[in-house]
């Protein structure tokens, strides 16, 4: 409504809009109306729903489940699939660094300043996959579907604190019949190295000549993009491997496990 009335006011006699309008009142009126509406919503929200306050903090009584604030539940959800140093430190670190790197990796000049999907299909689909699939959905699962012992429960299901879930996970090497510790470590290392190197290498070698995008990117940008992309896709890969193949770790080393 506000936008259309602003248009009417600013349109010239041919009904066409100028590229620029005076901020007073064009911008300020819309801003104050939106702000007013938001403050009203916030006041109604604050009058009707109280902020939670539970019993006093007690280090002797651990609630089950103990949940982080909702915006960190995506990371807590990843703790099911990764060791804490990956889920709690490496993945959030890569998220922040990767987000910051986006403008410097995306060389596609199209789609700057308007909504489009087909002109930047890869960028949009990658971002939406990460944003919805690896950020929002894990938060929803953590908030609504996790109960005692961090087991899965339906929101309407009774939280049975004695629920038993079989944990018969094996490491990736064992899945292929490798029983030797050293051989398993080598196998896992080769698997992870291949995950990071092979698909990007094939893509680069086979598509470089036909793809103006790859040529515009150059090798440095491509390597960084490929690393960040493969790291991101490692998360759903691990989740899939855990849920379907019961894989505990891809790689077991004396210092850390992946």
């Amino acid at each position: 409504m506000t936008a259309s009335s602003a248009h009417k006011q600013n349109a010239d006699d041919k009904g066409q809009l100028p590229a620029k309008v005076f901020a007073w009142p064009g911008l300020l009126r819309i801003e104050s109306l939106v702000a007013l509406a938001a403050i009203i919503v916030l006041c109604v929200w604050s009058i009707t729903i109280d902020a939670p306050l539970e019993e006093p903090a007690n280090p002797a009584i651990t609630p089950n489940p103990a949940k982080a604030p909702w915006y960190f539940l995506g990371l807590q959800e990843l703790l099911v699939y990764f060791d804490p140093w990956i889920a709690g430190v490496v993945i959030p670190g890569l998220c922040v660094v990767g987000l910051m790197a986006i403008p410097y990796l995306d060389v596609n000049p199209k789609g700057n300043g308007y909504y489009t999907i087909k002109r930047r299909a890869f960028a949009i689909s990658t971002f939406m996959f990460g944003f919805l699939g690896l950020w929002i959905i894990p938060i929803v699962i953590g908030v609504f579907f996790r109960g005692p012992g961090w087991n899965l429960f339906w929101p309407w299901e009774h939280w049975d604190i004695h629920k038993v879930v079989a944990q018969n996970n094996v490491n990736l090497g064992s899945l292929f019949g490798i029983k030797n510790y050293l051989a398993e470590a080598v196998f896992g290392s080769v698997f992870l190295a291949a995950w990071y190197v092979v698909p990007p290498l094939i893509l680069y070698r086979r598509r470089y000549d036909q793809s103006p995008t790859l040529q515009a990117m150059g090798l440095t940008r491509f390597v960084i993009t490929a690393f960040l992309f493969q790291s991101m896709m490692l998360v759903p890969l691990k989740i899939f491997a855990r849920l379907v193949l019961h894989v505990k770790y891809f790689l077991v080393l004396p210092w850390f496990n992946v």
Binding site: H7, A19, A23, L42, P69, L75, W85, V89, G113, I124
Partner: protein
């Protein structure tokens, strides 16, 4: 009857005029009330608050269906959280013996105490949500692209700061919910590579121990206790807000310096930096530059102008 009303009205206008033309009024407000272009400019430039905004804005940039209003609303939520937060600070003591009692005091004894607390908490949650929505909008419109790359980086810093602000505030009620949420959240810091005592490679760093690592730095001890409460309080009320305000100022400043709200037309972009300009001029054929007026878009080479116009029927970027 009529003359009396008219006389009254006249007196009123006279009074308003006298106030508006008084020395005091004119020393505060440098602009008048008339609906002229000159006065509209003065409205924006003569005062401190509005001079932070541009005098003129892109028509496409004030459309809600383009911006969703999410960035501005995030700032509004931050402002609400700051104001209510200061009020809460009058009643709250970051001491484990008192913190929870102060929450009860706020709830049951202080007029509008619970309302202030609710406003603070819900505006903080809304801020986290809106900052995500804003990031989604900026990504979907490709607004992080040249020349706004660095403003996106600042935006990611602000997202991180928002999450940290919200997380540090989560502990302050000092109830079971907050204490254990922060315990869970900070437990991850144990596993920091090199710097957490349970993290990989920490055995190679000599001084790392449960009492001296990344987690104990956050907690001010080995468990969530008095040291943590005080640390989170100081971070929440002083350190993080200062950083956030600083980054917000730079973020807003950069919006203007990068050519205002992003839009579909190259003509809307600010003049290229000297280095970029050289390359553009070197590669462009001289003919179009000579024929077209200066406000016409400078083409970047890869993208034909035709292609853009299909997507943005509503803005043609005509020169003013």
């Amino acid at each position: 009857m009529m003359p009396l009303l008219e006389k009254e009205k006249e007196e009123k206008t006279e009074l308003a005029d006298r106030i508006a033309s008084s020395q005091i009024w004119r020393s505060i407000f440098r602009h008048g009330f008339d609906d002229t272009q000159r006065n509209r400019v003065l409205q924006m430039t003569a005062g401190f608050l509005l001079h932070t905004r541009p005098i003129k804005v892109w028509t496409h940039g004030i459309r809600l269906r383009y911006t969703w209003g999410a960035g501005g609303l995030t700032f509004l939520m931050f402002a609400v959280a700051c104001i209510t937060g200061v009020i809460l600070m009058f009643y709250y003591r970051p001491v484990t013996e008192y913190a929870y009692a102060d929450m009860k005091y706020l709830k049951f004894d202080i007029p509008f105490g619970m309302f202030m607390r609710n406003m603070h908490r819900w505006s903080a949650h809304a801020m986290v949500l809106l900052v995500l929505v804003h990031m989604l909008r900026v990504f979907l419109t490709g607004s992080y692209k040249k020349p706004r790359e660095f403003n996106w980086v600042i935006g990611v810093c602000l997202l991180t700061l928002t999450l940290l602000l919200s997380f540090t505030g989560y502990l302050l009620p000092w109830d079971q919910l907050s204490m254990w949420a922060v315990t869970v959240g900070t437990n991850m810091a144990r596993a920091t590579p090199f710097l957490g005592h349970e993290g990989p490679f920490s055995e190679f760093v000599p001084f790392i121990s449960p009492r001296y690592d990344a987690r104990s730095l956050l907690l001010g001890g080995t468990i969530v206790a008095q040291g943590t409460l005080l640390r989170f309080y100081v971070l929440h009320c002083i350190v993080l807000p200062i950083f956030t305000i600083w980054f917000v100022m730079v973020h807003f400043y950069r919006i203007r310096k990068d050519g205002g709200i992003s839009g579909p037309n190259k003509a809307l972009e600010p003049p290229a930096t000297p280095i970029a300009k050289e390359t553009v001029e070197g590669s462009a054929t001289p003919e179009p530059a000579a024929v077209k007026p200066t406000a016409e878009p400078k083409k970047e080479g890869e993208e034909p102008a035709q292609e853009q116009k299909q997507d943005c029927k509503d803005s043609e970027g005509r020169p003013e």
